[in-house]
Amino acid sequence: MFALSTKPKARLLKRPFTCARWLIPLCLVILGACHRSPEVQFFGDQEYPQKLSAWGLMQLDNQLIRLPSEQQVYELNTPLFTDYALKLRTLYLPVDTSISYRATDAFDFPVGSIISKTFFYPVNSSGAIALQSSWNGNPHDIDLSVHRLIETRLLVRQPQGWDALSYIWRNGEAYLSIIGDLITLPVDDGSELNYLVPSRNQCAGCHAENHTHGTIHPIGLKARHLNRPHPIHARNQLLNWQQSGDLSGAPQPALIPRNARWGENNGDLNLRARAYLDINCGHCHNPRGAADTSGLMLDHQASDPAHLGVCKPPIASGRGSGGHLYDIVPGNPELSILAYRMSTTDPAAMMPELGRARVHREGLTLIEDWIASLSGVCL
């Protein structure tokens, strides 16, 4: 019963259309206007389409999102916080290919893979977004009459590596943006949210977890983040991929690492906090990351309390210190720089530096509780 199965998928790496280079703009316009493919299409790095619809990754139909059957939805144990945006994550693998398992780093994906993440919010009748939602993770339950799509980010696996692309939604279509944008969204409490669509280089700011090489990789598609029940059918996502032949080289389930789910209030506080710091901070705060300059390591492998910030003075924090002396003062979140930088929205002081214009109250509470639970004295 657990033998590899193959299921029908889209044709491999089909180039949808070719035309002389000087005609590309015209071709793209024509394609965008006329070509609505029911299948996922893959594009080389010189021919990215201006419209998301050309990829065939999703269709909007009668106020619902339709995903082609070869697209897989997945969820993370503990996700990155992005201004309370809801996120629909999908994975497309070329036919007859599989992901190679890695225990710690991002899985190795075959050329032609496409990862998408669509950011959206509930909206009320006047178009104001809500920052809370009871969405269950099922794409079929996203009613577009009461939700607003903001952007869809793609990670596209080319022969030479991953490319990151952002598409911004407007009137039922999403358009490629290399330079990113700030979108002012009205919030149902009367405030406004300056939502940041990252530029291509800003994508690398997080996805190049090794800042020296600068090559980008998926962040969430790691064993410890994916090892959890599927949002729709509730079977373990990795076991499911193993059984379908989409994931090769994985050990037996008990040997696969698993991060805690940050919001499970009865879960282990330390594990939940570390999972939260891992996904929200670890892509820069790791020994090879952009923030190794600080000496503060918040990835899942950090173990030395001083590297985690316990009684550690800041290096180049500027006013990010908030007037405090240490990153973490055990038992005292109110004296800890770590909590301060999560509690401010001043761009020069807040952490993470990008993709957050709001305080994640629930995440902050988790980290404050964790710091409060730590014991020790800073001399």
Binding site: L182, L196, N201, T293, S317
Partner: protein, 418 residues
């Protein structure tokens, strides 16, 4: 832009072809009505940075170009070139996104002849890269010293083979020019004013700092080592600089490393080794013209939790050929002022050089730690490790020689620059 790329060219064509359908123009948040003359450039500049290819020269025309979110560059081999530091101005007044003005992660990078003003955080940060030239750049917070200004003006960190020259840094709430965790660096012919630290070299191996003017900062030129970061620094030469009147009130955020720098510090060495200070003109720095201190005197937190591998003691410091005038009359820390009055009377002044006198108790010898061959200049040992009880001038123990450091030689494409 020197030469347009296919990609941006394509985007531009599509914008024309599809009217309002182009991405990225929905909010117009980048564009301030007052700066309408540079609207087109703001968009073009972002596209040029985001789609850059090695060898690109990206021109910045004269004018004030206004940005609300950070700019980023990740491509090696790019030159950004303006028309002059008072003509081509990237203004971030009212910035609402990003922790820097321009953030660079690239090698073979040149930026010259422009200004970056009023960023909400750091102005220009180059985080990792080799062969970096920062030339004729002005970073400034136009409101003057303020704790709410960004931390660093010109900020290369973890770079190798770096030249900063002919630049101006004003009113950073930490350091105007800050070279961190780098190797093989020249900082010359710059002017740093009204910053907390004018020029700071931190955890850097091999730096020459010369022909600069550091004035009206809290501290003029700092050579520091901090614990718990990947690279321990050593070997810096500070020479031929004019370091005067660095008496601005310390306006750094509490808790930061420089918040403990007493106003009135000329050249300040902290926890660093192999530092040569020579042929500088130092004047009227109210705490002292030269200060040498261990990590324990820096007023930092975490003093007792130092990692074992960190060396908090300044050693092999060589001071010669400097000219001194004034200074030491009004130390910017209460405890220092009390010592001044106790030793030299209400109107007396510290000598030109003060040292906290804290040495490694496990050192094999009694020195030399600090060698002074500077005609009549005196060094006061504060004896801070013993409650200042043995504070004294004893030049005999500082009559020593430290081997001279070699000049920094920039390599590769920067060889011609030096």
């Amino acid at each position: 832009m020197h030469r347009p790329h296919l990609l941006s060219f394509t985007i531009a064509l599509l914008m024309f072809g599809c009217g309002g359908e182009s991405a990225s123009s929905s909010s117009g948040a980048d564009i301030s009505p007052a700066m309408a003359s540079s609207e087109a450039f703001v968009q073009q500049f972002r596209e040029a940075l985001e789609s850059a290819e090695p060898g690109d020269i990206i021109d910045v025309p004269a004018g004030v170009h206004s940005f609300k979110r950070a700019l980023t560059l990740n491509t090696d081999g790019v030159t950004i070139r303006g028309k002059g530091m008072d003509k081509s101005i990237l203004s971030f007044k009212g910035q609402i996104s990003g922790a820097e003005g321009l953030s660079v992660n690239a090698s073979d990078f040149v930026i010259e002849d422009l200004a970056i003003e009023d960023t909400i955080g750091d102005a220009l940060k180059v985080n990792e890269g080799e062969n970096i030239i920062i030339r004729h750049i002005r970073t400034e917070w136009t409101n003057g010293p303020d704790v709410n200004n960004g931390a660093y003006g010109i900020y290369p960190v973890q770079t190798v083979n770096t030249l900063i020259e002919g630049s101006v840094a004003i009113a950073a709430s930490d350091a105007g020019i800050y070279v961190g965790q780098s190797k093989n660096v020249i900082v010359r012919n710059n002017r740093a004013e009204y910053n907390v630290a004018g020029i700071e070299v931190e955890n850097t191996i091999g730096a020459d700092v010369y022909d600069n003017i550091a004035t009206n900062n809290t501290g003029g030129i700092l050579v520091f080592n901090m614990p718990q970061i990947p690279q321990r620094g050593h070997s810096t030469r500070v020479y031929n600089n004019q370091v005067s009147r660095n008496n601005t009130e310390n306006f750094a955020a509490p808790g930061t490393a420089v918040s403990g720098v007493p106003k009135g510090s000329g050249i300040l060495v902290n926890s660093n080794d192999n530092v040569e200070i020579f042929n500088n003109q130092l004047s009227d720095n109210d705490t002292a013209n030269i200060l040498i201190s261990s990590y324990f005197s820096a007023n930092y937190a975490g003093q007792k939790n130092l990692a074992k591998e960190f060396d908090p003691y300044p050693e092999y410091i060589s001071i010669y050929g400097n000219t001194f005038q004034g200074g030491g009359e009004k130390p910017g820390a209460d405890y220092l002022n009390q010592i001044r009055v106790a030793l030299y009377g209400p109107t007396g002044a510290f000598p030109d050089i003060i040292w906290d006198g804290i040495v490694n108790p496990e050192a094999a010898t009694d020195g030399p730690f600090i060698c002074v061959n500077n005609s009549e200049a005196k060094l006061l040992n504060l004896d801070a490790g013993n409650n200042f009880e043995g504070a004294q001038v004893n030049m005999a123990v500082h009559d020593c020689e430290v081997g001279k450091l070699p000049a920094i030689v920039l390599r590769g494409a920067l060889a011609n620059a030096s």
